[in-house]
């Protein structure tokens, strides 16, 4: 057997849609050696996933593939469906991004792992069960033999991804294609999965094609890297070469776009803008015929903090830790208990009618720029909406203010009549910022404002946020799970888990002397130390 598992040469893919055809991959060449990991890096739409799907002909029918894909000396392009099925899930197997939807919710995990075994290896009965247990142990699921009859919903996100890996490993593949396997997982779990993949790679002597946009993981896991942009491989080489001496500008830009350092502390901040005391957001669990409250889900429990003017407070936590509930509660968008004092006014006693001043002064930017803009309204209507509520001004003045704010966030004037779907993710997030900023608020809550954006766009949006903070003396509450980002943005940090504060304090202190194990774990798993 040769040393090269997979060699792709001159691969081009285009999609035909009726009359026009769109090329999504142009003349790509790469090789994967036995027992090594190749990472495909690039932003969304750069052709990473298309490449991986093309390897085993899983593309939609209107795709045309030109070039050569050589796997273990066998040409894969042009193979019949039956021959391909012998390779898929057997010699080449897949792990996808979303473990929640990759598993069938109606079958037990034993059945789902066993399916591949009986299909490719003709195993059955006790032999099959034995093998399934063996696989589950290999992916480190505790008490594997008791979990066989579990359904996917009984597993956590990380465990589901482990089961996916077990299915992928079932037939000892030569090549494992992992398509953003950790993107939807929390950082601590992400680290466990990456460690598991690395360990399996060395014990099983298989090759991995790893697809991701996360450079931190690439550095950790891969031997070779291909950087992709707009359907082209623009640079490839060993991980060390790429990270230490990148040649193309794009790669340099990607490498530089990850946030670094701390926020510069300007001066002592004395005037307090927001005070939260013992804030609670409890969702009742109602059971039984009379729907009596049997207990509570404590999304936010006993949270207290102060926010000074011009200060940035970071809130870090994994999914489900109550970050977003906290943000919504502060803005009085959901009901809560405890006191919220904004500019010396207690918000909890106010009727919704009297909240208008507060609404003008406190704004929020949401995570998903695709969901936070109404698709049926044009940019002028979206950005000007706040003015309609709060300011009584003439039409020309209104338009003038809208144009000015668009300028400020880096959008041009003629965009004003366009609709959200005509914009990229980064532009949409700018529109959302403009909508919040036009009211000249004092407090801006940023709920994961960049996690849906590509890395290079992410850094642009972050820079914009820093500029407007200085210009308008804004206070930020910055919610994120990206610790590096929080570290570079925030003065103070609150670390949340299961609705309570695990640890809080000045950013520098927290990173240099973390007190709690959870904090240490978070810092370690995001590779900041």
């Amino acid at each position: 057997m040769s040393d090269t598992v997979l060699s792709v040469s001159n691969l081009s893919i285009s999609f035909k849609n009726n009359s026009d055809s769109k090329t999504v991959l142009i003349n790509s060449n790469f090789k994967i050696k036995r027992g090594t990991t190749l990472s495909l890096v690039g932003e969304s739409g750069s052709g990473k996933s298309i490449t991986s799907l093309a390897l085993v002909s899983l593309l939609p029918l209107n795709a045309s593939i030109v070039g050569s894909i050589n796997f273990n000396g066998e040409e894969l392009i042009g193979l019949s469906e039956i021959e391909l099925q012998k390779i898929r899930g057997n010699k080449i197997s897949f792990i996808f991004q979303e473990p929640m939807t990759s598993l069938n919710p109606l079958h037990t995990i034993e059945k789902q792992i066993g399916e591949s075994l009986s299909f490719h290896q003709n195993l059955s009965g006790i032999e099959k069960t034995q093998k399934v247990i063996e696989l589950l142990e290999k992916v480190k699921i505790p008490n594997a033999h008791t979990r066989l009859k579990d359904y996917p919903h009984q597993l956590s996100g990380g465990q589901k991804q482990r089961v996916m890996i077990a299915i992928a490993l079932a037939n000892k593949p030569d090549l494992l294609i992992a398509d953003e396997p950790t993107t939807s997982l929390d950082v601590t779990i992400e680290k466990e999965i990456i460690d598991l993949l690395m360990e399996i790679k060395s014990t099983e002597k298989m090759s991995i094609l790893f697809i991701t946009h996360n450079l931190r993981i690439v550095k950790q896991i891969s031997d070779y890297v291909c950087v992709m942009q707009n359907g082209k491989i623009i640079e490839q080489g060993s991980t060390q070469e790429i990270f230490e001496s990148p040649k193309s500008n794009y790669t340099k830009k990607l490498l530089n776009s990850s946030p670094k350092g701390f926020r510069k502390n300007n001066s002592e901040r004395i005037s307090r803008i927001l005070n939260v005391e013992n804030l609670k957001v409890w969702f009742p669990i109602k059971r039984g015929f009379l729907r009596r409250t049997k207990g509570f889900i404590k999304a936010v429990d006993q949270i207290s903090f102060d926010l000074m003017e011009e200060e940035t407070l970071g809130i870090v936590g994994e999914s489900g830790s109550g970050k977003t509930s906290l943000a919504l509660a502060i803005l009085k968008l959901i009901n809560s208990e405890g006191s919220i004092t904004f500019q010396n006014q207690n918000l909890q006693n106010l009727k919704s009618r009297n909240l208008l001043t507060f609404r003008k002064n406190a704004q929020i930017i949401f995570q998903d720029p695709y969901g936070s803009l109404s698709p049926k309204m044009n940019i002028e209507a979206i950005v000007g909406e706040g003015l309609d509520v709060h300011e009584k001004i003439s039409k020309s003045k209104r338009k003038e203010m809208i144009l000015q704010i668009l300028n400020e966030v880096g959008l041009v004037e003629d965009m004003i009549t366009r609709y959200p779907h005509e914009f990229s993710g980064g532009q949409r997030q700018r529109i959302a910022i403009a909508r919040a900023l036009i009211l000249k608020p004092k407090l801006l809550i940023l709920d994961e404002p960049t996690s849906a954006l590509d890395v290079s766009v992410q850094s642009q949006v972050i820079n914009l946020l820093k500029i407007i903070q200085n210009k308008y003396s804004l206070s930020y509450i910055f919610i994120s799970h990206d610790i590096a980002l929080i570290k570079s943005m925030c003065d103070k940090i609150i670390i949340m888990k299961d609705g309570i504060i695990v640890e809080s304090g000045e950013t520098k202190n927290l990173f240099s002397k973390p007190k709690k194990n959870y904090t240490k774990e978070l810092i370690v798993s995001s590779n900041l130390k």
Binding site: L355, K360, I364, S374, K376, M377, V389, A436
Partner: protein
Amino acid sequence: MFDSYLSKRRFQNFKSNKRAYWSLIIFCSLFFISLFSEIIANERPLLVKFQNNYYFPFINFYSEETFGGDFKTEAIYKDKEVQCLIISDGNSECWDYPKKVINEIESYPENSNKSWIIWAPIPYSYNTINDLERAAPSPPDQKHWLGTDDTSRDVLARILYGFRLSVFFAIVVTLISSIIGIAAGAIQGFFGGWIDLIFQRLIEVWGATPSLYIIIIVAAILQMNFWLLVLLLSLFSWTALVGVVRAEFLRARNFEYVRAARALGVSNFVIMYRHILPNAMVATITMLPFIITGSIGSLAALDFIGYGLPSSYPSLGELTLQAKNNLQAPWLGFSAFITFALMLSLLVFIFEGIRDAFDPRKIFK
């Protein structure tokens, strides 16, 4: 909303569906023509020139005296005597020998005093009772292109008026029930909780009410007319839209752009109207065809069983009933069947096109 790129693309999509596009053109032309039924099918002349004056009998009332007759009642233009009076400028011989006078004028046009009558292309209205030389219903002939029904009324005229009535009825019912349905669905979906719970139960009870019996009972108490029937059918068809609109609002009220609007301090009503409703319209439009064809069907069915509009109305359902009662006169059945088939097929094609045009995933050539 209509100047957006999306609407343009939708219209392009609709146009590229040839069947739907042509159905729309044909249906609109038919409906447009039927709006002028009074000009096309009327027992009164459209224009009369009498003693150098012009008269418009199809809109205005003229007594027989106007044309030199004896009665103060409206001139019966179908009568040979009246026709004779008009074209002879009031010759009194018309009382005794109308045919002779008419023949004279027609054979020597140069002698006549140039009075004339212009008739509608179909010189019968939907309720004109014609003198036939044979027993009604009479088969199609030169005078009655689709024959006559069992009270000797012209079938073509009745279909023309009946088509207009059906479509108009369906549009009014759909409009009323959409307004009520969308408002109810919007309020339930947006506020949720107890409001939603109570309204849903009320709608369940309302939906379980046997609407046919209510219509029969009301028909027994009150004199049925067009608007009463519109009201009764609207009362029971608005619930169809509540489900989809409610679902859309329930889904959309937690969208981030709705939250963002809340954070801006926008009032509930504006959020519902400006942010959520436009997005709920797609679901509404997919439901509309069912309501429209449903109301046409209900009207026909009620007329067929005799609890719909009184028989003086030009009803297609009543024509179907006559067809059933007069199997020896197949032209009644065929006319009714072809009218319904054409009308409903055109509507179904049009709405199929509209629905596809709103579907973002559908690819058009």
